[in-house]
Amino acid sequence: MPLSDTTRDIQNRLGRYVRDGKEPQLPGVTSGRLGTYRRLVYNVIDDSLRTAYPLTEKLLSPKEWDLLVGTFFNEHDCQEFQVMRMPRELAAWEEKPTVLLEDHPALEDLLWFEWAEVELYIMEDRPIPPHKALGDWWTDHWVLNPESQILQLTYPVHRTPPENLDECEPGSFFCLAFRQPKTYSIQFVDLSAIWVELLRLVGEGTHPAKAIQWLSEATGLTQDAIKAAAPPLLEDLKERGFFLGYEE
């Protein structure tokens, strides 16, 4: 005997109630007790989102935060079975209240920036190819940290306190985020477009010399100028655990 329509409906109405708070008429319920479920479930969602998005919580007023969380939980069907990964669905949710996006234009960027930190921290280990410490920047292939993301942002959320974000002008900003291989801490590096392109090309397997040639053609800068400017950034990335070495 499959689950009857009656029982299925009762269960779905309880599930719907914990999301929208509109108390249903369910048979055999102890008076005043259904609200306990609504509070318990809402607290799980709210706590998980606060943990993942502490800067967003600072950007918004308490009322705005409640609006964001309440509408998200009510209107969005969470698909992640892991509550720790559920917050990604808030960043990806396209139906955020318009009033919040109008009053806080950096909201979307800030959510993705904060999610990148969580996601990198918990992501499954990715294999790192064999590599050697010594080599030449422009003749050897590079081995870069595969536990990384490049974020393309419209607002500088990676270098601006949340309380100042509403004053920022839109633009084109880039941030490299990666998991430090020894400490597993998440590192962020502010990058200009040309270095993003260099890392993207090399990351996709282009030889560094070819990548420099391509960048030179694309920007009008000489290859020597690009090569001269790159080492401080590359040394910093090496020190911090993004540039891992040279291919063996």
């Binding site: 499959p2 009857s4 009762i10 269960q11 007790r33 698909q79 992640e80 892991q82 499954e124």
Partner: protein, 276 residues
């Protein structure tokens, strides 16, 4: 400890590994909190399973849900259980998903005839997919919903018909007996005790004159220890878990609670150890 394990929480994960004063018999994790995990916490779990047997207590199976089982999740779960050589996998007799949405908490299943058949079929499917027995916990609930029978009959018939095992959460029995006004000892006597494979113990919080919430955020109170003593007298030796999820105290306090339970087990099961 011979019988008592502990819920392995990130708050003391490192601390437990680095000390020698408190040695639980096993650790238990929610697989959903550790699956698909890399980096720091993956290393911590690898170290933990070198030191302690691992049990898993799931959150997302939603065995009582009106929604279909999530087969991909169950396959991923099996891979995790296999990889970490998990000794026992338990879940909740509740549902946490409806209308294609995860709700991330334990909702009460209506105690109804059709729900029993629905759940029994799902238990058998899950056991086949996991290739291991499923151990289901009696949950705390704050209101019955459209019940056609008492909770004890509902549990009894599901366990008997499906052949699954029972995780007897003694604190949940106490909480439910308070919230719904029944006798906890009579309730325990009515359960299929020969199917009990695992026990959970925890603290709770009384939030009003007529309501206790199962928070796992307080020390175990004496009446729950008394109920545990009563229960273990009727059981063969099984593993026992101390759950503490919030307001987590020093390890020394968790050790003290574990020792109280260990003494009760030793007293009640001493003569039975030789036969198991």
């Amino acid at each position: 400890m011979r019988n008592i394990g502990i819920g392995y929480r990130r708050d003391f994960a490192q601390g437990l590994l680095e000390q020698t004063d408190f040695q639980p018999a096993f650790i238990e994790v929610a697989p959903e909190n550790w699956m698909r995990m890399g980096g720091h916490w993956r290393r911590v779990l690898e170290r933990a399973v070198e030191k302690y047997p691992l049990y898993c207590h799931g959150l997302s199976l939603s065995i009582g849900s009106p929604d279909p089982l999530d087969i991909d999740f169950i396959k991923d779960l099996r891979a995790f259980l296999d990889e970490f050589q998990v000794r026992l996998y338990s879940e909740h007799l509740s549902y946490s998903k409806s209308e294609n949405a995860h709700l991330y908490d334990l909702l009460p299943i209506p105690f109804r005839e059709d729900a029993i058949e629905h759940i029994v079929q799902r238990i058998q499917r899950v056991q086949d997919l996991l290739d291991r027995p499923l151990v289901l916990e009696n949950v705390s609930y704050y209101t019955p919903v459209a019940a056609e029978m008492p909770e004890s009959e509902f549990i009894h018939r599901i366990v008997e018909t499906s052949g699954c095992k029972l995780l007897l959460d003694v604190n949940n029995v106490y909480v439910n007996s308070f919230n719904h006004g029944y006798d906890a000892r009579d309730f325990i006597k009515s359960l299929p005790l020969e199917s009990v494979a695992y026990i959970h113990m925890a603290g709770h919080e009384k939030v009003s004159e007529d309501l206790i919430i199962d928070t796992h955020g307080q020390p175990i109170i004496d009446p729950v220890y008394d109920l545990f003593d009563f229960t273990t007298k009727m059981l063969e030796p099984v593993p026992v878990l101390l759950e503490r999820d919030f307001n987590i105290p020093e390890l020394s306090e968790l050790k003290r609670e574990s020792e109280v339970m260990e003494r009760i087990c030793q007293t009640n099961w001493e003569s039975k150890y030789a036969t198991v």
